[in-house]
């Protein structure tokens, strides 16, 4: 068995071929077992992270859109509220006026009815006075007829009748 450091002969070529075979085998095995799987693992993770970041960004954009939409809605809600309030106010004012008008009408109606009643009562009273005057007159006539009276008695009677009439008139 010989020792050597550098031999430029056919054995070198054979050694090169043998080493080439070894190197190719080693590289193939390392690539198949180590490099490629780990690289794929890293690539898959990178993709997953990128996907997650993407989806997060999408969700953020969507949320911002929703926020803008709701803010707009809120603004329009303010407007709507004002509209509703002013509507209600005008309606209330209208209703107030209506109620007042109705009340007035009713009061007028009541007044009218009262007036009519009063008039009717007045008529009634007048009629009654007339009737009473007639009654009194007839009573007086009958009394004049029944009793012969002197001047003083007559005066007394007339006074009586007049005071009676006054009382009746005051009453009516």
């Amino acid at each position: 068995m010989e020792d050597f450091i550098l031999s430029l002969d056919i054995n070198l070529l054979k050694d090169v071929a043998f080493q080439l075979l070894n190197t190719v085998i080693l590289c193939a095995v390392l690539s198949y077992l180590l490099y490629k799987p780990v690289k794929n693992f890293l690539a898959a993770r990178r993709e997953r992270i990128a996907g997650q970041i993407d989806s997060a960004e999408n969700q953020l954009a969507e949320a911002n859109k929703m926020k803008a939409l709701y803010e707009e809605k809120l603004k329009s809600i303010d407007k709507e509220r004002e509209n509703i309030l002013s509507d209600a106010r005008t309606k209330a004012v209208k209703r107030e006026q209506e109620i007042i008008a109705e009340a007035k009408e009713e009061a007028d109606a009541l007044k009218n009815r009262a007036m009519v009643d009063i008039q009717r009562e007045q008529e009634k009273a007048k009629d009654e006075i007339k009737k009473q005057i007639i009654e009194v007159s007839s009573i007086m006539a009958s009394k004049f007829v029944a009793v012969s009276i002197n001047q003083s008695q007559q005066d007394k009677l007339v006074d009586e009748v007049i005071s009676d009439l006054g009382e009746v008139k005051w009453l009516s």
Binding site: I5, F18, L30
Partner: protein, 257 residues
């Protein structure tokens, strides 16, 4: 022809000289010299040397490690909890980024090849720390790596643009063709000899240092190991892989980068 034969003979004599010079150091039990363990492996005509043996040891360790990773991968969490997962993720991601930045994201599949090459060269360079002879201190290993880069350069060049590839040999002038061919051939030679020379040089210096008297062998070898094995080893690994990537990327049309 005579010239090249003469050159090879000259180089052989030179290496014989080096071999003699360090044989003394080698006798002290250090792995400066490569050693043939079996000259005819299972009748295939291939020989088994320290390089082959150590390559197999490294392969075994790395494959075992890969199997453990593959088994543990199923338990990996989306949010890393174990240091082991962090370590694996870090090295794979670093390699992926390394390939991506040098060759473009589209060619990140080269990471499959260069990851293996990187780890193999790195462990080969560092295995000297454990007293093994580095497989990269053998021209056979580095030449095979250089040849694979050479093959990838021209393979990618041809399949990614035949016209540009062959046009490239006649630029800037048509008569520059021989120069271009030499420069293409120089690429794998320079790649493999750079790595081979650096690692072999480191191990020769370490081997010679260990032949010195015992009193200088306290503490100083540690610093030398850090420089020659760890620093030079990592640096040469990085340089080899980096240059291979750039050479291949050069032959790929620019628009795809």
């Amino acid at each position: 022809m005579n010239f090249s034969v003469g050159l090879i003979k000259e180089m052989s004599t030179m290496t014989e000289g080096i071999t003699e010079a360090v044989s003394e150091a080698a006798e002290s039990g250090l792995n400066i010299q490569n050693h043939v363990l079996c000259s005819d492996f299972l009748g295939t005509g291939f020989r088994i040397t320290y390089t082959t043996m150590n390559t197999w040891i490294i392969m075994g360790v790395l494959i075992l490690f890969a199997v453990i990773v593959r088994i543990k991968l199923n338990k990996f969490k989306a949010v890393p909890e174990s240091g082991f997962q962090n370590f694996i993720e870090a090295i794979v991601e670093a390699m992926d980024n390394f390939v991506g930045s040098n060759m473009g994201e589209k060619y990140s599949y080269f990471g499959n090849w260069f990851f293996g090459v990187f780890v193999f060269i790195l462990i080969s360079n560092l295995i000297g720390l454990l007293g093994f002879r580095a497989p990269t201190a053998d021209l056979a290993t580095t030449a095979c790596l250089g040849f694979s880069t050479f093959f990838l350069i021209h393979f990618m060049g041809i399949i990614k643009g035949k016209k540009e590839y062959f046009k490239g040999y006649f630029e800037p002038f048509p008569f520059w063709l021989p120069m271009n061919i030499i420069s293409e051939l120089a690429t794998p030679v320079s790649l493999s000899f750079r790595l081979f020379g650096n690692i072999l040089g480191g191990s020769i210096i370490m081997g010679l240092f260990y032949t010195l008297p015992a009193y200088v062998k306290v503490g100083i070898p540690a610093a030398l190991h850090i420089y020659f094995d760890v620093f030079a080893g990592c640096l040469q690994t990085f340089i080899f892989v980096m240059l291979s990537m750039s050479f291949i990327a050069d032959k790929i049309p620019d628009e795809t980068k």
